[in-house]
Symmetry: C2
Subunit: 242 residues, 2 copies
Amino acid sequence: MAQNIYDQPTFFEGYSKLPRSVEGLDGATEWPAMRALLPPLAGLDIADLGCGYGWFCRFAAGEGARSVLGIDLSERMLDRARAEGVSASMRYERGDLDRLELPAAAFDLVYSSLALHYVEDAGRLLAEIHRSLKPGGRLVFSTEHPIYMAPSRPGFTSDGEGRRIWPLDRYLVEGPRTTDWLADGVIKHHRTLGTTLNLLIAAGFRLDHVEEFCPTEAQIAARPELEEERDRPMFLLVAATR
Amino acid sequence: MAQNIYDQPTFFEGYSKLPRSVEGLDGATEWPAMRALLPPLAGLDIADLGCGYGWFCRFAAGEGARSVLGIDLSERMLDRARAEGVSASMRYERGDLDRLELPAAAFDLVYSSLALHYVEDAGRLLAEIHRSLKPGGRLVFSTEHPIYMAPSRPGFTSDGEGRRIWPLDRYLVEGPRTTDWLADGVIKHHRTLGTTLNLLIAAGFRLDHVEEFCPTEAQIAARPELEEERDRPMFLLVAATR
């Protein structure tokens, strides 16, 4: 079972103050790149795995999706999502992505933003997602990039000459990584990029796009602190088709 | 035009002493992993782009390939390849991978070992390879991994606490990288893993396997100095189908 870190008060409080929690999709630097991978949503049956506050679910409903199912492990997140308003096409359910079972051939699009790195058995989940998609249906997801997740000390440091570096180690050693992001002892599951892609292929997906996200020139001009993102990718974005 | 570094005497002399030059395919740590991606070679029409001393060409001919075309930019490499023996099914040609034109639908397999990182316009080459494959034909290649190629100082160093780290920077800044491997001023072209895969997809390939190579437990047991390879991948191996 996945760690339910979002229901820990310290983590939840910290998370609720992030730009992506306050401003929604537009507060997430990678959202324009994610959106570019999406098909037009009108008329689609959509599942959002790890829906959090439901920002994407509301966006999809607003775009005219036929149905939107938001799934999250965190009761607190789902409470807040429901409080933000649930239209007739929307539904929220509690679910653990490490155990989730989905109806067969039910969705045109499965979307998942920054949830897969909490999942221990990604192969199981990806196979379940594949089964849940209609033929030709699409999976679009983001996850923490393995370069970001791998290191013993995941933070920028300096080499002997004052150059900012990302201290990569253990990239090829897969398995859990425990960090202290927002709360102590947050557990994520490190897989190489190759492993994630091979799990998708093994599940039957055709890979359409693999993006190691970098903020755009315009984003860096508007927020110069983003310049360091060029040194190592924080997010991996993938689009694939059943 | 690609830099013809292999015809520089200093580089050539250094390269000729590497285990992969002396021992051939079995001197390359990643060869078993590459071989696992290959179809049975008997009866196939094969091109080897960046064939070097021709080790793979001779291997393929020995496995019963119908025809093997080895292409390299270096006259010295081709001279040595020819001197090692050219059987009736084998042919060597000089060619620059940045300008190469190949016959249409001519090959069942295009193979390339550690040459793509010297190519400036990988999109052009991959489209040309796609065109040169018969429908259902396969591309299997290795290239230096972008994590290995990206840094300003591509070598292990130590963090303040004595931990070995790979000082990653500029991963998302694509373009030429100049290193002093075997000779000064060797030019390689850094592309993110995502870019390489998206160029393959844009060329029309279906991705079959993406491997960030790590030596096996048995290889590390036999050569303990390989243990550091777990900290960052040196090679990227890809298999794709037209």
